[in-house]
Symmetry: C2
Subunit: 191 residues, 2 copies
């Protein structure tokens, strides 16, 4: 009996590749087994179930994304950092659409707590040190940036901007200009 050498890690990586090829929602335990030339049931010694697989892929994607973000932010500040971080998300989604979708997977509270999600928030907060925001506006700004990055990327990937001029690269640059201007000139709370 030749062993396939299955481990949770190898299965997760292969699952992530599968997600990029066919889409995260089409990742299936059966297809994964097929790719390892192994019977489906064999995977259940390494994975609890198919949600477990999805969760692992999501955690992998969050880690990869956080690593890239940390890299991109190193040595940068202000608008330079803003652009770098924004491009990390956009580029990752383009290179790895399945993984990016996985990163949006709704994790159980326990899984979420142990995920790289926390690092993402911390890095956005670090980025904002280049601007003059104090709490609670800093938190609001963290959430705004997260919303714009995620919203833009998912609309662009979903084809939401596809049929209209001008091109999306132009819009992306102008949105980053606008966010930078907004952060430098954050409006005071209205009474």
């Amino acid at each position: 009996m030749v062993r396939a050498g299955l481990t949770p890690e190898r299965l997760t990586r292969a699952g992530a590749e599968l997600a990029d090829e066919v889409g995260f929602d089409r990742v299936t335990v059966s297809e994964l087994a097929r790719r390892f030339d192994v019977k489906v049931a064999s995977l259940y010694s390494h994975l609890r179930n198919s949600e477990d697989l999805r969760t692992r892929i999501a955690l992998l994607a969050l880690e990869e994304l956080a690593d890239r973000a940390a890299d991109a932010l190193a040595g940068r500040a202000g608008k330079d950092a803003l652009t770098a971080l924004a491009n990390v998300y956009r580029d990752y989604a383009r290179e790895h659409p399945g993984r990016y979708a996985a990163a949006q997977f709704r994790l159980s509270p326990e899984a979420a707590a142990g995920s790289a999600g926390v690092r993402h928030a911390q890095m956005t907060r670090a980025l904002l040190r280049g601007y003059d925001l104090t709490e609670p506006d800093q938190t609001h700004a963290v959430r705004l940036l997260g919303s714009v990055f995620h919203g833009y990327v998912s609309l662009e990937m979903g084809g939401g901007f596809s049929h209209s001029a001008p091109d999306t690269q132009e819009t992306w640059s102008r949105i980053l200009d606008a966010l930078d201007a907004l952060l430098r000139n954050w409006p005071p709370t209205t009474p």
Copy 2:
């Protein structure tokens, strides 16, 4: 033989309700048949397949959302209109999470062309008439607003903001303040 009175429209509405109850990705032809107390195969006279069902639910959600938006924008301008439109998306997502998820369903190009998606872009453009933006900045702003609304709502629904203070209502208000300020003071293109 008592007839159940199946039609594509009734099935679509029931499918939308099902989506709100169990989640759009758990909408299944089988469950729908069960709810009508009918055999699964019977649905296939009214629906081409399960993707057809999903598409119909998505189109329904887009229509409902556009209707609400049109209603909310009537007679409003400026920040008042901005807030109203933003709240339409957020409230709809809270009241009808499954339908909201459906509205994000990737439609085929033909389906997308015939959808209410176009109305949404038009309404956002109409809203911007209250601000002083000319093309191409108006298009960039349309896309920015779409990104923020969609991004914020999906992060909030996905629990992305759940564990941290301050509360999300506060953030939502401040983000609308910020967007209003940004639109009134849109930065010029950097040379």
